[in-house]
Amino acid sequence: MKKYMKKTPEGLKDMLYEECAAKAEIERSITELFTMRGYSRAITPTIEYYDLFDDDMTGIPQEQMYKLMSMTGRIMALRPDMTIPIARLVSTRLKDMPAPIRLYYTENIFKVNINGSGHENEITQSGIELIGAKGFCADLEVLDMAVKVFEKCGITDYTIEMGHAGFFDSLVGGLGVDGEKKESIRKSIESKNYAELSRILSGMEDSPAAEVLKLLPSLYGGAEILDEAERLCAGNEAAMECLDYLRELYVKLTDISSGSSINLDLGMVHRNNYYTGVVFRGYINGYGNTVISGGRYDKLMEKFGRDMPATGFAVENNALISSLIASKGSRLLPKVGAVIYAERGYEAKAVILAGSLADEGCINRLCFSGGEEGAVSCAKELGAQRVYIVAEQVKTVELR
């Protein structure tokens, strides 16, 4: 036997039974939600040119992408993201379509993690992109959809948190630091590394912006952090504008999403060269990873030659799948209603019966050996309520 015949590659896996049933149910719920709110599905190729996902464009390091070479010697990549291909699609095939354009997707994306990290390299993501729309109502629509993803999938114990990419920019802009230093400030805020952040900002004590930046990692929680941020940023017009905007979104979103937990984190500064406005994340309590990630990215479309504002989010379907399996388990599996056994010579009749039972909505299975006794024990194992023995006559055995 060949060495790698019986294992799946690192970070990739097979799925069966409950997992497949849960995946189908989650995708059905999400598709319904997105469709009912006017989004159309987009399907893009799994493999694209590597140039599309270049680090400058996506912030995804090249060692995290699966790459291959085309027959013509071009570098190709398994898509590590869905927003970029959709931006490409909108700037080409949909270039004459009037804005706003609403698209959704459910696709697998790929990421190379370090061997042994336990992270998955093939991830199913669903998401929406609202392209060519700016302003409050568009932001509220997308945030509301993120909340609805949780609710539609039966998850009550979730948290959505919002931030604003412009808030960080308005503060760091006043420091007069170079790109590299800005990036190290951003990184230490993103990882809430207070020690490193104070070290970088030491010597800038006379700048009011530096003082706010130092506190940025701790500015997360409810509306009270907006009060605190407003007090700290008095006089910085651009920063105040972001805070006002966030407050209004926070209030409206809290109003319309009853019972859920909406929070703020002004220190949310991930992929800051990509996001331009409101950013947000969603978590499920007890699940250790980010489940939803999204925000406004007004500068991306311009790179494809079609300058348009845009916003959207992606959901990691696996988190929703685990949560559904945890609550429903084997109840997710279809229930077999009947088992059929054919005596020799009556196979075609049995297959016809199987087909008509299926048409009536009764899930059934043919049983191939063991006669009536075998069929009954097979039915008991599956929890089926009826056995058909097909011969000249069809005999029906009812089980309790």
Partner: protein, 208 residues
């Protein structure tokens, strides 16, 4: 919901961490008499004892909410979590060291460097514009230059005594190291009050 779970690096940091927990008013009796148990109740928390690299793994995956681990491990392994507090204990530093009087920064010859921390070493030499050959060594890295395998080493230096006794000395310091408190990204947001209570307890105990 399960109690907040804290991963603690076994060994060098353990004693200082236990002292810190006691100053925070937590009952560490079970932790001090742990025997061979790996998960122990400390006050209202669950303490998990693990190797440094595993502390990062458990916290990143969210099976532990908080971790106590050295900056050396964080810098070498990386990962997605919040690095919230510098605890100030377990202080030492990363340094390049070599035989007394050696010069690794000039000349055209390719330098060979032995280290337990290839990522740290690689980033450091890259920042100095140097292209060196790295060899990963698992145990006493000081042996490599003594045996003639490497020109220099990148390693953790605490007192410098081991270097000195083997005729080696620090050529340049790379970065200071100390113990850190890390927090899972989702836990900080979904169990904010409990985690803040704990980290505020640390800050208070550290300033006493």
């Amino acid at each position: 919901m399960r109690p907040i779970r804290i991963a603690l690096t076994k060994g060098r940091l353990e004693k200082s961490a236990v002292e810190l927990f006691e100053r925070m008013g937590l009952d560490c009796t079970e932790l001090k008499n742990k025997g061979r148990r790996l998960i122990l109740p400390v006050g209202e928390y669950e303490m998990v004892l693990a190797k440094a690299n595993d502390v990062l793994t458990y916290v990143e995956h969210g099976v532990c909410d908080i971790g106590f681990v050295g900056k050396d491990t964080i810098a070498e392994k990386g990962g997605n979590f919040y690095e919230m507090l510098d605890l100030g204990f377990g202080r030492c530093r990363f340094a390049v060291a070599g035989p007394d009087g050696c010069d690794i920064f000039t000349g055209h010859r390719e330098m060979t460097v032995a280290t337990k921390y290839p990522n740290i070493a690689s980033q450091y030499f890259e920042s100095r514009g140097m292209d060196v050959r790295l060899i990963k060594i698992e145990g006493s890295v000081e042996l490599a230059p003594l045996l003639g395998l490497a020109d220099a080493i990148v390693d953790i230096v605490e007192t410098g005594q081991t270097l000195k006794e083997n005729g080696l000395s620090v050529i340049e310091e790379i970065m200071p190291i100390s113990a850190r408190t890390i927090v899972n990204v989702a836990s900080l947001k979904t169990r904010k009050n409990e985690i803040q209570k704990f980290t505020n307890g640390i800050i208070k105990a550290l300033s006493l």
